[in-house]
């Protein structure tokens, strides 16, 4: 149904509204008013054209209504509001990014074990040793021995409390073998909720059959003994 008078009225009212984002809502509200009024007149027996004419006459002067409405839809405040909202959205996206990235790294980063050159591996063991220091859980997962005498210990650690107690894992303890040798480890860790680490020991004795990691600091203790594969791969 074409209603040219209604359209002209709405168009003129909206031409006074300076803030573009409010125009649609104003149009919807006024239009539904006019349409209902037209329906009521038609129920009373008027034809469409007459009903439209009466309804538009009842609603009043488009210029006066448009100018009054524009006062209540301040463009400057409207834009400020829009911009503020935009900033809030950006702020939230930014935060999601900073929270999301560690999650992403944790779940999608490949295991550091893949960084080791496969052809250099003499043997590789999956282990499952877990110790706890206060709220930090340390989980030893793999041992890889390379042909250059390097022993790599893979482990991950994480906090059982979401917000750490401020106790950061400095060292996993002293690393020795059953022959009494002590090793210094080079360590590398990835970021993430679960931190994945490698400790690499140079020139690990081929004859040692047990790796011992013992921690004894700040009145906290643990000792992990891991049996190694010895001899089978001797050349």
């Amino acid at each position: 149904m074409l209603m040219p008078k209604k359209e002209r009225f709405l168009e003129e009212v909206l031409s006074y509204i300076k803030f573009p984002f409010d125009r649609e809502n104003i149009k919807t509200e006024l239009e539904s008013h006019i349409v209902e009024k037209i329906d009521d007149y038609m129920e009373q027996g008027y034809d469409v054209e007459k009903a439209e004419e009466l309804a538009i006459n009842d609603i009043g002067d488009a210029k006066e209504i448009g100018m009054e409405l524009n006062k209540e839809h301040n463009a400057l405040l409207g834009w400020l509001w829009k911009i503020t909202n935009g900033m809030v959205v950006l702020f939230i996206i930014g935060n999601l990014f900073f929270v999301g990235v560690p999650f992403f790294i944790t779940f999608f980063s490949s295991s550091p074990i893949n960084d080791i050159d496969k052809s250099s591996i003499v043997y590789q063991m999956d282990i499952d040793e877990q110790v706890k220091l206060d709220n930090t859980v340390i989980h030893f997962t793999n041992i890889v021995y390379q042909d250059n005498g390097e022993l790599n210990i893979f482990f991950e650690h994480y906090d059982t409390k979401l917000w750490g107690t401020g106790w950061s894992l400095g060292t996993i303890g002293e690393i020795t073998d059953n022959l009494g040798n002590t090793y210094r480890a080079r360590s590398a860790c990835s970021a993430g909720i679960k931190t994945k680490c490698i400790h690499s020991l140079d020139n690990f004795s081929k004859k040692a059959d047990t790796l011992i990691i013992s921690y004894d600091s700040y009145n906290r203790k643990y000792k992990v003994e891991i049996s190694l594969q010895v001899g089978e791969n001797d050349e």
């Binding site: 008013h33 009043g60 002067d61 209504i65 409405l69 209540e72």
Partner: protein, 114 residues
């Protein structure tokens, strides 16, 4: 009887908030209710209701929400807020004082002649 627009002007807020006191209404419904209650005394241009409603909304006296009817028609309903109810009490008081004073004036001040 038709009323002068200026005469209604001062009491617009009182009238509109009163219409919303008991139930939420959309614009056209308010016009019809006003006609009904006032026996069509307040004949004003219907469109001028909307700037008033939007002003009340900006002032926080009412809030609005859209309801989509089964027929697909969208209606914007207005609801009086807590601060709108406080304002309504104020406006009613002001109206009491005003109408009492007007009545005194038009009845003639008897004390003046005593």
């Amino acid at each position: 009887m038709k009323m002068d627009k200026g005469l209604i002007g001062g009491s617009t807020i009182l009238l509109v908030l009163s219409l919303l006191e008991v139930t939420d209404r959309y614009g056209y419904e308010m016009i019809k209710e006003l006609d009904l209650r006032s026996d069509k005394t307040f004949q004003f241009k219907e469109g001028t209701l909307y700037p008033v409603l939007h002003k009340l909304e900006n002032n926080g006296y009412v809030k609005s929400y859209i309801v989509k009817a089964d027929t697909g028609k969208k209606r914007k309903y207005y609801q009086i807020t807590r601060s709108g109810k406080k304002q309504l009490v104020e406006e009613k008081k002001k109206w009491e004082v005003f109408s009492t004073s007007v009545n005194k004036v038009i009845a003639g001040d008897l004390h003046a002649h005593a």
